[in-house]
């Protein structure tokens, strides 16, 4: 194992971590408002395909990214419409959204399969910072998406925990009727949170097709949306802990095939299971501890709100 290999491992850890973090942040925001959205995989697929198709049309990666965010937000809003406006079962609607998003993305992307990318978001050069040994390649030559993930994480922490708007969002996830009584529209808050969550998932999808592996293929998300859903639970609905979890899960993705080049014999299939195993472990800890202190999950998560039923 040489130095370049270790740097490469850390670089891939940060890069995959940011991919998972973008999607998980979106899911965390939606869940904080009380809406569970299991459609992350589908929203990422829609973001991935929209970004790639628009990049082919415009050759502008930033326009492509914007399209991916809008596509993710739009398809996320379908879930919002069913669960918030119609009060539909959130698990069923979210699973449908995954199937819809993955299928629709495959359909929309048919003409883009096998075509070289129209535009890419290339790694950022931070000048002197990028030349620092170890830290340079690991932290300062990453894709713009990595820095977007950091900014999005800080912003979501600030807004959720330091502003009145954030208080209203969190309140909607804890007790919708109280939020309503306080004069906030639960429907607007939840719709907004789900749409923003979809936008972030769309950005994560675009990270795949505009930066990480600039190409479109059906199935390119490959289950990473589900890791993001697990990550929210693993991170106990806190942006900081979700970030740590993202790095840890990113490490398992980076190790998946790299372990072989380190000469370590360990099944990549077992390694792929690790995020889920860790999440189940955290769920066990949460449920054991919940006898003494409240669960970190938003109390009204998954519960439809109708004013008449108050």
């Amino acid at each position: 194992m040489n130095e370049a290999s270790i740097i490469g491992l850390l670089e891939a850890t940060v890069s995959f971590g940011a991919l998972l973090y973008l999607a998980a942040l979106g899911e965390m925001i939606a869940e904080k408002s009380g809406i569970l959205n299991l459609g992350v995989e589908g929203m990422m697929a829609m973001g991935a395909v929209s970004g790639y198709v628009v990049a082919l049309q415009t050759n502008n990666p930033w326009v492509a990214l914007a399209a991916a965010v809008v596509a993710g937000a739009l398809i996320g809003s379908i879930h919002g419409f069913f669960t918030v406006v119609l009060g539909a079962e959130q698990v069923v609607s979210g699973l449908s959204l995954t199937i819809l998003g993955v299928g629709l993305a495959a359909y929309l992307g048919r003409g883009s399969v096998g075509r070289p990318p129209g535009a890419e978001l290339v790694p950022v050069d931070w000048g002197l910072l990028s030349d620092i040994p170890w830290a340079g390649p690991v932290l300062f030559t990453q894709s713009p998406f990595v820095y977007m993930a950091v900014v999005a994480g800080c912003l979501s922490w600030f807004i959720l925990w330091r502003t009145r708007l954030g208080l209203a969002v969190r309140a909607a996830g804890e007790s919708a009727s109280t939020t309503d009584a306080a004069g906030h529209s639960v429907a607007v808050i939840r719709m907004g949170a789900v749409a923003i969550g979809g936008g972030l998932a769309g950005a994560a999808g675009a990270y795949l097709t505009l930066s990480l592996t600039p190409q479109w293929q059906e199935g390119i998300v490959a289950g990473r949306g589900w890791i993001a859903v697990a990550l929210v639970i693993f991170g106990a609905w806190r942006p900081g802990r979700v970030a740590l979890g993202a790095l840890l899960f990113g490490l398992t993705l980076a190790l998946k095939t790299r372990l072989q080049t380190f000469g370590v014999e360990f099944s990549p299939i077992l390694l792929s299971m690790l995020p889920y195993v860790l999440t189940v472990g955290v769920l066990v800890v949460i449920s054991v501890r919940s006898r003494k202190r409240p669960s970190p999950a938003p109390a009204a998560l998954g519960v439809a709100y109708r004013r008449e039923e108050r």
Binding site: N2, A4, S5, I7, G8, L9, A12, F16, L36, L38, G87, A88, E89, Q90, V91, A106, R110, G111, S112, V113, G114, R115, P116, L208, L212, T213, P214, Q215, Q217, E218, G219, I220, A222, R224, W226, V229, A230, I233, L253, A254, K256, T257, R258, Q260, T261, E265, P268, I269, Y276, T279, V280, L283, S287, A297, L301, G302, V303, A304, R306, E309
Partner: protein, 385 residues
């Protein structure tokens, strides 16, 4: 995850008090709507089926989309070539998953429409094709890449990809300066191991000091994993990346790192123009023509066809312009010997990875040995299990 989901389901059900018939009604309407669509599709399909004629028609069932520049793309090129050359009517359906009833449903649909030749282009269609062949003895089923045949209307087609793999190894070994080459590979099965071994033997013919390091991705198609595996090999100092995968991700990583790339399936140079060296490629057209003509003449025998470079089913894509002419002529000379039958990539002496003798001097591996190959040759870094 699962535990939490169940919690949410439970919680929302407990808190819900609206009449259940409301949702049930909506769901019933959806089901009726769906039924109506399915029924009308069935009517259309039946109507189409009734006007079948006796002339040969060939249907192709693909695992992926034909635009993927990889496996399915190569088959689609073959279908188009066969349609043009034989003049028979052809049709295809794409993205049919393995291990589901979908394959049989599409095949039956084609047969009802009068198609008399069914090509299944993925390994996992094998058992479905075998049972359909027994059910429809008048229809020819030609399966790509499996190991079953029934001696009448169900046969197997594949190509000796190890020949162009060997030649691509000669090109790769010639351009490597670090003598460390990487190979991103899907699964440790004989087909893939055979390719890695042939590539390595080609590399070491021209560069005896070189090693080929293998990374298994455990997927045929996941560009993120394929690209990262290539990156791991590049980080370790590999300056040429070869692959047995269906996406172009490994090539893109090689391009970004200033390394070189041996592609697979088709000429993928558009994806990494600087890195691209060459590619062992499939050319299914001639075989498809042969099967269709045999089916039309009633001479299809349902055997095992393992075509060679001389048959034209496999080939080497044109070598990149910047590769030295000496290398190109050495590769051309070897290719000619393979075509003439005077050279075989698996002719002895060949040592196994652990240094033991795999093929003695003067011997050539039999087809059975090659089809069950599960050990690496000397010069490969990695494990087959």
């Amino acid at each position: 995850m699962a535990v939490s989901d169940l919690d949410h389901v439970g919680a929302s059900k407990a808190n819900r008090s609206e009449p259940l018939w409301l949702e049930g009604g909506a769901m019933r309407r959806q089901i009726f709507g769906l039924l109506a669509v399915v029924l009308s599709l069935t009517l259309v399909a039946t109507a189409c089926g009734s006007d079948s004629d006796s002339s040969t028609k060939a249907a192709f069932i693909y695992i992926g989309p034909p635009g993927d520049a990889g496996w399915t793309w190569a088959h689609e090129q073959g279908r188009q070539a066969a349609a043009e050359e034989t003049g028979v009517e052809t049709a295809f359906v794409e993205g049919v998953p393995e291990g589901t009833a979908d394959f049989a449903n599409y095949a039956r649909d084609f047969i009802d429409q009068g198609f008399s030749v069914i090509f299944g282009t993925s390994f996992g269609y094998m058992d479905a094709m075998e049972s359909l062949a027994a059910e429809y003895p008048d229809v020819v089923f030609d399966h790509i890449g499996g190991y079953k045949a029934n001696g009448s209307n169900f046969g197997n087609t594949f190509g000796r990809m190890y020949d162009p793999r060997y030649l691509s190894g000669m090109v790769a070994g010639s351009v490597s300066t670090s003598n460390h080459l990487g190979y991103v590979a899907a699964f440790p099965i004989p087909e893939v191991i055979r390719g890695i071994n042939a590539f390595t033997l080609g590399v070491r013919e021209v560069n005896p000091d070189a090693h080929v390091e293998v990374v298994w991705t455990s997927t045929w198609f996941d560009p993120v994993v394929e690209g990262d595996s290539a990156q791991a090999l590049l980080d370790k100092g590999a300056d040429v990346i070869a692959m047995h995968q269906d996406s172009t991700a490994a090539g893109e990583k090689a391009e970004a790192a200033g390394a070189r790339w041996v592609a697979y399936n088709s000429d993928m140079r558009a994806f990494a123009p600087e890195a691209f060296l060459t590619a062992p490629v499939w050319n299914w057209g001639p075989r498809y023509v042969e099967v269709i003509e045999q089916a039309a003449a009633g001479t299809y025998e349902g055997g095992y066809y393992w075509g060679s470079m001389a048959d034209g089913i496999v080939d080497l894509a044109p070598i990149a312009d910047d590769v030295d002419d000496i290398v190109k002529s050495a590769v051309a000379a070897r290719k000619q010997q393979i075509l003439d039958g005077t050279f075989h990539p698996f002719q002895g002496p060949i040592n196994a990875q652990d240094g033991s003798v795999l093929v003695s001097s003067g011997d050539i591996m039999s087809d059975e040995e090659m089809l069950s190959m599960m050990v690496f040759v000397e010069g490969v870094i990695g494990s087959t299990g």
